[in-house]
Amino acid sequence: MIRQDLMELAGRNMRNARFRNLLTTMGIAVGVASLVAMLSLGIGLQGFANHQLMKSGMFQTVFVTSKQDIRNQEENADAKPEESPLLNDEARTKIAALPGVEEVSPEVRATAEVDYGDKTNITLLAGLPQSAKDEEAVEKMKGRFFSSATADEVLLQREFAKKFDANPDSVLGKTLVVRYAERQTGGDSSSFSIERKEKPFKIVGLLDEEPFGGMRMISRARVFMPTQTAEAMNLMQQADTQQLVRATSGVRTYSMLTVRMKSASYAEKVEGAVKKMNYSAYSYLDATKSIRRFFAVLDMFLGIFGSLALAVASLAIVNTLVMAVLERRREIGIMKALGASDGDVKKLFFAEAATMGLIGGAMGVALGWVIGRAINFGTNIYLHRMKMPAENLWTVPLWLVVGAVGFAVLVSVLAGIYPAARAAKLDPVQALRYE
């Protein structure tokens, strides 16, 4: 029998037992809906977590240190510090030339005292690279980002600004004075002197959150200025002591360079290239592996729970089709007498099972989507009450739609195996015996 005839006959048979088939199909729909609801929640949560982490810029970032750095000597037993080159300006240029690299910036952090009007506070100062303007914390801040990479402008944490003015918004556009320790290189490489300096800055922005999701060392700073401005100020930093005591000193080295890629997809390659240059490199990709594993397990469990309803629905298919075999005994006998082969009869029942799976699957995806929207809506009402921004915890990707319908068809066809075999084996002589 050709496929078109098969589908026509299957459709006709299903219309003849419309109500029963509709109920069974609804059962499949509910099963698929629960599967879709569970999985899209898992996928949505994963997407949400990924999105949060991506916003932190962590995945686009590789941290490079020299193996000569004291921290690495403690951690890496197999590191051969003497073979690792210095992390100097030459290295910085080389790394900046790697494909996919957007920006290489040192971490500049220093203690500083800040004068604003008649008030003075000591705090931590840090450089923010230009790429930080896409940071979530920066995007959400009040005011604006630095006008240029060398501007004499600062961003303040709102909490810090409150120390100067009860109404922190009023400090925007005003000037503050930063008092800091400047490192002045001496005549030879074995010494440098430190001098106190002052520099005025314009306050252009107020941060409500810590940049980089609070995950980086510089996140803890309360006053941020462009990294290049900070570099030009020759701020005395902690690592300078380490550099001084080393015999190799003489050229300026960095304790750490932060490499920012155009996208997270470059991270692995850049990390590899930097390691080949014999520096230590670390990215958060390793950390995400365990996150991904967690979500894989979560998705699996959600999928199993979601599938339970579908498993129940598959029993309903078996039941419906077995009923249909009993009910259509005579019809099957007639079809065989007219020349239908066992295979034709089997295929007919498979076609009916697959049709129920297809329709049920499609209905289920729609139902699951509606349930998901509803849960998302409810969650956002809750988030709104908690004064938190709305989030999309719900994602139904195309592959899930196609996969869920495909899975429903597969489960239905599997459920059809027994009834179809029973129909095919039906003895036409028995079936046609006059009753």
Binding site: M1, D5, R12, N16, K336, A337, L338, G339, V429, Y434
Partner: protein, 236 residues
């Protein structure tokens, strides 16, 4: 009445069908041999339980022989697998039943299209073929009626049209007039005779009515207790 052609359409040699019922063996058809020639109208007579329906099912390829052989149009049914038997039922024989066995949920036209679907007749040819078959049995106006909307005679004529859909060479009829009043029975018998005479279809009809056999059949096979007890040829 049909002429002798000398070519065998159906040839049974020691055809047997045994059932086991617990310990006992029921010999429903027991060592039956006969020949029906091409274009012949034959009748199979016998009381209830004589094995005539079982024999007809064997000839129709619906049941399997326990022993012996049945050769139809030169092909031995005992050698066929289930696929080949399905093909045989589809193309070589047509079958009609006492209870018509039209699919009640299908229109008459859909019923007649069913064997064409199994034979994978191109869809473009089917509608014409169905209408041709229906007008041959005088039911062209009833194409879109469900079996329940038709009289018994119309249903049986529809069933005959369906049996002929794939142009079989042999038509097997199991008590075709058993559920019909005499007028409708007459009509069906006339139709069967016309098909036999005009189209040369070999007809084997099971009946318990000797008068019907005498009137229409050239050869009557009488069965009792699974055995063929006599063969009567009506000489013209």
């Amino acid at each position: 009445m049909s002429e002798k052609t000398g070519v065998a359409a159906i040839e049974a040699r020691g055809a047997s069908r045994y059932y086991t019922m617990g310990e006992a063996i029921v010999r429903a058809v027991d060592d039956v041999s006969f020949t029906i020639e091409r274009g012949e109208f034959a009748a199979l007579l016998g009381p209830s339980g004589s094995g005539k329906s079982t024999l007809l099912n064997l000839l129709a390829g619906l049941d399997r022989l326990s022993g012996g052989s049945i050769v139809v149009d030169g092909r031995d049914l005992s050698m066929m697998g289930s696929e080949a038997l399905a093909r045989y039922r589809r193309l070589t024989v047509g079958m009609i039943f006492q209870s018509f066995n039209l699919v009640p949920t299908m229109t008459l036209a859909d019923n007649i299209e069913l064997p064409l679907r199994f034979a994978e007749t191109p869809r473009s040819e089917r509608r014409d073929r169905v209408m041709e078959l229906l007008s041959n049995v005088g039911l062209a106006q009833r194409a879109d009626h469900k079996p329940t909307e038709l009289s018994g005679g119309e249903q049986q004529r529809g069933a005959i049209a369906r049996a002929l859909a794939n142009r079989p060479s042999v038509l097997l009829a199991d008590e075709p007039t058993g559920n019909l009043d005499s007028r409708n029975g007459q009509e069906v018998m006339t139709l069967l005779r016309d098909l036999n005479e005009k189209m040369g279809v070999t007809v084997l009809m099971v009946t318990h009515d000797p008068a019907l056999a005498t009137r229409y059949a050239r050869q009557s096979l009488h069965m009792a207790d699974g055995k063929l007890v006599s063969t009567v040829e009506v000489l013209q």
